[in-house]
Symmetry: C2
Subunit: 332 residues, 2 copies
């Protein structure tokens, strides 16, 4: 977070026109846009006469804290998490619109770094995807609203509802690392009163940078969404609320059960199942499919109980696997 006392202007000190003049050049262009930012609306081309759309809010407090995340990380994460929802449909991300309500005391430099984070995420995770429009407002609560678009290039979308008994259950991306980072931050990134502390978070970045990065700047396997669709994935979703809960959503939508192999979930299956914000892709493939990209087998689709997630054939009690139980979510 740039220091508000460092001398640069605050959001409340320059007009909207100057703010846009500073931010717009930092944003990535979208290859598919035929009319970009600056008019009442943008115009974006599609290859097959359809577009994929998803929207997500990030609110200071419940979703992020400026004492912990840098503005660059916020921009990165705002892009990455929305791109991941597009990828989970089997689509190629093409464009974003970004609306920000900034606090009056936010340094303009923070919004510039936010824009650079957005750009870096697009360029790194979904080349060609860019920002085609947005809105700037002022609020007591720093709030970020991103809407992301994708192109299916003629393929059918991969829904949550297509898994069939006997399909292989596979995942691409991390399981539990973002949650490990958040657990670390809640236990050691806070001051003695339990409030997020920038200094202690910085120390954690030095020591445990990998899990802290997984939380603040996730790298979802965006390209694997299209690869999964091309390989015949029968169902897919973005893991945002933890493998256990999200797998049960896929199972419910498909009218099947899912049996996870505990051995395939890494060294900490508790976190792998209960941890949220992985933004990995969970997909099901017909038996015998050569799994594409970074997908690895973690289980199998079973007939019953419908909507249930099992581990090695035994019922999984979601509450028994909740790594957050006993935490005070209100702290910080």
């Amino acid at each position: 977070m740039p220091d508000p006392r460092s001398g640069g202007p605050l959001v409340s000190e320059i007009g909207e026109a100057e703010l846009l003049a500073r931010i717009l050049p930092l944003l990535p262009a979208a290859a598919a846009a035929t009319t970009g930012p600056g008019d009442d609306a943008a115009v974006v081309g599609t290859t097959d006469g359809r577009f994929v759309v998803t929207t997500d809010l990030m609110v200071h407090g419940p979703d992020f804290r400026l004492a912990w995340s840098t503005p660059w990380e916020l921009g990165w994460k705002a892009a990455a998490t929305n791109l991941s929802d597009v990828a989970a449909m089997g689509a190629r991300p093409t464009a974003l619109v970004v609306a920000i309500a900034a606090t009056p005391s936010l340094p303009v430099e923070a919004l510039e770094q936010f824009a650079v984070g957005l750009r870096d995420a697009c360029e790194s995770l979904a080349p060609g995807c860019g920002v085609v429009g947005g809105d700037l407002s002022v609020s007591d609560t720093f709030t970020i609203a991103v809407t992301a678009f994708g192109d299916l290039d003629g393929r059918p979308p991969v829904l949550r509802s297509g898994a069939r008994v006997g399909d292989v259950v596979a995942v691409s991306g991390d399981l539990g690392r973002a949650a490990a980072g958040l657990r670390l931050l809640f236990s050691k990134g806070v001051d003695d009163d339990g409030r997020p502390d920038a200094g202690r978070a910085a120390a954690l970045r030095e020591r445990d940078g990998d899990v802290v990065s997984a939380q603040f700047a996730p790298r979802p396997p965006i390209g694997d969404g299209v690869l999964a669709a091309a390989a015949g994935a029968t169902a897919m979703l973005d893991l945002s609320d933890g493998l256990g809960l999200d797998a049960s959503r896929l199972a419910t939508a498909s009218g099947v059960g899912i049996d996870l192999d505990l051995d395939a979930l890494g060294p900490d299956p508790v976190l792998a199942i209960g941890g949220g914000e992985d933004h990995s892709l969970l997909a099901t493939f017909p038996p015998g499919t050569i799994l594409p990209g970074g997908f690895r087998r973690i289980g199998e689709v079973v007939a019953s109980p419908v909507g249930a997630v099992l581990r090695d054939g035994e019922p999984l009690d979601p509450r028994g696997w909740d790594p957050y139980s006993g935490w005070d979510g209100a702290i910080g």
Copy 2:
């Protein structure tokens, strides 16, 4: 605003799944959606391989106050103002995504009424347009983020930059009525300390319902956007910041000046020029065009000064026409 003590549950008292189960059935369906809400993303069809997109934030405080607006009006206005930006491109609105950050103490009934307002606005102003996705979050500041989509049906978009010297300047919709409503609310809809007062605002609704409605539930001439495009409009924009400022934006983008006929601006040209939030359509047409729909002539495109707005040939000093000068915008 439903009374929080009326017995219905608050947002903080029911889970996200139950909240969605109550709200989703109230939302209008989009005729163009092939995959609607419920998956990671929606899929929307286009008729010509392109989509129009615009996004807008409404933040409690700067943009609305629950002591004044009903939740139904918020839903209506959130839809109407975004549909107007789509219309200003010459496009037909097809779909919306809506993200809401509600305060924990907001009655669930308020969100239901918000959804009904959204639905009524879509059905009334842009039949066939519906909600294809969204997000629900919690915040200390009630915040609404809407992204709207439109279809050009094969026509080129009508940009701000196409006005030519000699074109007729025309407007469809009200001028200054929304600002008159806001002025009334700021002067007589507040308590003795200048804070928005629900009781006094209710009295104003009784007496001056037309201008109060123009502010809280505007009825932009959405269909006139397509009619203007079909009639050959050379430039168009949505009047959100006042005719004077928005006309100068169109003039600057087009490299021309605009000369307004004072007589054509109604009984209160000050409010017509300075008032914001009209969400009327300002467009330019080649000379001799039979003006379509509700468009009426209010001036002419001139060669110079570039970017300037004149009235009857005399330079317009925007500050001299600001009906808000002297107000304390922070009050309320």
